[in-house]
Symmetry: C2
Subunit: 212 residues, 2 copies
DNA sequence: CCAGAATCTTGACACTTGTCAAGATCGAAT
DNA sequence: ATTCGATCTTGACAAGTGTCAAGATTCTGG
């Protein structure tokens, strides 16, 4: 019986610990989300922990309590950012019943995110560049890049399927193409070029039938 | 005659000033080149003027003498970097007499620069991302991006010409594609992935005939 | 050769940075 | 209600930052 009690006690203890862990992790994500605000505004180079804290409801000490250091915090930010990103077009892919529908749904989301979430996108490009210098970022960044490539591939595959064809290039090349176009459009958009978004849409509209 | 003397004196003075200017500018470029060493090693975020000075033969005060501030220095670096970059493939384009020759020449240079000048390339991607945050960089960065696009276009046009065809996509899309592929390969290469370079070459070899 | 300008060195300034530790506050189990 | 651990605040520290100014040095025209 002693053994059963011990077992039950251990289970309770484990459950409590799991709860604490979950709470701890939820807090980390809260903090990461707050940090993303400032990071998106200022970029990696100009963002300090104190700046992050001041633009949030937290004090700078809390960040040190939940993260071992600055890199740890930013890694967590990147990982969290990823989860929200890679499902952006999934609904469109799932519901579209024709090439046109898929095209228009994709383009609409593309334009919307380029305009409304420009700060998050530029942060992603910033951090991906940082990964070229800072080894600590590389694992997460490469993983996200793979997810984004898969995301584009899902769109292209479905588009090809709806036309009874198969994508004409590799996932890597397709991702490179769309990512390059998006990055360039983002820069122009941030520079105040009103034509950036429509030109991107035109380009993608023209390109889709030729690559899939 | 007084007028002639004045005119001559003015011309002499102007020549002297031009000489000073030239010398001044040559020094700026020397300093920018030294700064590029450290920038390529550490990236924009982690590079300070003192670090730059310590890794060079100059004292940190000189940089302040020749540049109004840090941004001015880095803008100069970027502009200088550009000049060296955009002519990389021109000789290949000028001398190649067949599609194969152009392909192989292009791929050889591509592989060489990816491996030997990885630090400069990652700095370029870093600064291009910075331009999304820092307006002061945008003009120069957009200009360089245009030059690179034109560089790719020259290659593609010549390649198409040698096959009696015309490029199948716009300059922007072509640049996006190659830039995206290069950026991805660079990241993998820096992460220690031995397959990064050969995979890039394979991809480009496969792609060239389909886009031109 | 020498005065004045150009160039460079040095050291200081005010400020920001990441990190940490001591203590306050909170929450929950006993 | 008390106690103890988790959570948070606050303030401090040393190191590093961009900037600048005063003076040393070098260059150059006369």
């Amino acid at each position: 019986m002693a053994r059963q009690v011990t077992g039950a006690a251990r289970r309770v203890a484990e459950a409590a610990e799991a709860l604490r862990d979950e709470k701890f992790n939820a807090r980390r994500i809260e903090l990461a989300e707050a940090a993303l605000e400032t990071l998106g505004e200022l970029g990696f180079a100009r963002t300090s922990l104190r700046e992050i804290a001041q633009n949030s409801a937290f004090t700078h000490g809390v960040f040190h309590y939940y993260f071992s250091d600055k890199l740890d915090l930013i890694c967590c930010c990147v990982r969290h950012y990823k989860a929200k990103c890679v499902t952006r077009y999934d609904e469109v892919v799932a519901t579209a019943t024709s090439r046109d529908e898929l095209t228009e749904g994709f383009l609409a989301k593309l334009a919307a995110t380029l305009q409304n979430e420009a700060r998050m996108h530029r942060l992603w490009y910033d951090l991906r560049s940082q990964a070229m210098f800072e080894a600590a970022f590389r694992k997460d960044v490469l993983e996200i890049d793979k997810s984004l490539e898969a995301m584009i591939w899902r769109i292209a595959s479905r588009y090809a399927e709806l036309g009874g064809k198969r994508p004409a290039s590799s996932p890597g090349a397709l991702y490179a193409l769309f990512d390059g176009l998006f990055q360039s459009a983002l820069l122009k958009h941030l520079a105040g070029d009103k034509r950036a978004v429509p030109e991107l849409l035109d380009e993608v509209r023209r390109l889709l039938p030729t690559v899939c």
